[in-house]
Amino acid sequence: MTRTIEEINAKIKAGKVVVYTAEEVIGLVREKGVSQAAREVDVVTTGTFGPMCSSGAYFNIKQSTPKIKCGGGRVTFNGVPVYAGWAAADLYLGCSALPDEDPRNAVYPGLFKYGGAHIIEDLLSGRKVKLVAQAYGTDCYPRKEYTTELGLEDFNNAVLFNPRNGYQLYNVAVNLSERTIYTYMGVLRPRLGNANYSTAGALSPLLKDPELRTVGLGSRVFLGGAEGYVVWPGTQHVPSPPRAENGLPLTPSATLALIGDLKQMSPRFLRAASFTGYGATLAVGLGLPIPVLDEQVMAQAAISDEEITYPIIDYSEAYPLARPGDLGRVSMAELMSGQIEVSGKKVPTGCLASRARAREVALELKQRIKDGRFHLTQPVAPLPGAELA
């Protein structure tokens, strides 16, 4: 059985496409087998919703009169510094940027209640932000100071552009030390007090196409409630990770660089988050449609929470000092039970990614495809290390 993207798009247009979410398809394959399921289903939708710090947005502001050259100057949104090393009116806001007056971890642990991500959420929620620009002034851009309030609609362009999202597989974080530590994996209690994970498991985009046979540069995705695109491999993308027999990587590996129109996005699927003692970040809702091009695609899209395993890493020493340490592996199903066993100790688990919201992403993408509002794309090129189906 093989199927092409063109055939799937024709079925979407005709209103005859069959779409399952990456959770729903597990039961179907168990019941009917891979071959039958592959014949029946055209697309499997995935979803994830979790903090992804390598996220941000670039903006182009309407010029003031007289004109101002922000490039080389200093610009803030609500006190949060924005990168202005470009032309006169282009700015980039990183989600982890903080106001200068934020005490950070000088008062430990810092709270990081307002940063770049919160600006993005404010704009998406219809609130205006205050722009303050200081420039050096040129003959063609004489203005040196500019203060204004801008809503999302006031920008010429507002584009979400995330250099690294959708990490394929992630660590389970624990703390072997004697004190509470505050990490990007959340608050970790001493002496294996808790184990935190951050993954959508059986719904996770890149875990359901583990060898990246259907996703590549140019793939259209669900991003923050709108359409987005894979523009490049994400930073730190690992082309040839060690893999299990089912194709799943054993360590954090593939990543995606994503882009989409911020003006079309929704605060339901892009949320600002404040990690105590760590920083501000953006929780991103991301969904990839997996076209069922052959039986192998279907077999891998049906990988279950029981089959996905993650390495357990100590974040008090092994992670910060890059020391080896083997605390074993644990499956998504075990993590979701609320308790795992590490070094003979029962440890409660907590998640940083929302499975409930990930499910909402996958269901929303499924609905858009069924309604003919979302068509699939043929990747222009594979991601490094991958071969397209």
Binding site: F49, G50, P51, P109, K113, Y182, G186, V187, R189, G193, N194, A195, N196, R271, A273, S274, F275, T276, G277, T281, A283, M336, G338, P348, T349, G350, C351, L352, A353, S354, R355, A356, R357, R359
Partner: protein, 134 residues
């Protein structure tokens, strides 16, 4: 009979040995779940009281007479479901299973009657979905 409550002490009553009286004069079992007592500030204590209804009623009268405020433990921790994304990070640090995950919907469940106001969840929540009034 068992009652969980927050007892607030005005600064002038910080010296009053309340727990002693509750145990000795009213024959109650007193389980202190949490307390903050600082000089010249209002003190607060989360306690679980166990005993006969008659003794409990008399204990409440005593507390009212001396000027202690005893409130049922309901509004101390406030959960804002509209801010919550159901990541469930809080469940790993909650010692009493007041915060749990529904295994089907994977949504957070806050059972206020199990909460002992330890506030562990506050630092664990990235979305300020839980706040303490304690």
């Amino acid at each position: 009979m068992k009652k969980k409550l927050v007892i607030s002490f005005p600064p002038r009553l910080i010296q009053e040995p309340v727990t002693y009286h509750l145990i000795r004069d009213y024959n109650l079992q007193v389980n202190i779940l949490r307390a903050t007592v600082r000089p010249r500030e209002r003190g607060r204590m989360v306690v679980e009281l166990m005993g006969d209804k008659k003794d409990l009623d008399r204990a409440f009268e005593y507390m009212e007479d001396v000027g202690l405020q005893a409130d049922p433990l309901v509004q101390e921790m406030r959960y804002y479901p509209e801010r919550c994304v159901h990541c469930t990070a809080c469940t790993a640090v909650c010692p009493t299973e007041a915060l749990t995950v529904d295994p089907q919907s994977r949504e957070l469940i806050f059972e206020a009657s199990h909460c002992i106001i330890c506030e562990s969840c506050i630092a664990a929540c990235p979305y300020s979905a839980i706040e303490s009034q304690f």
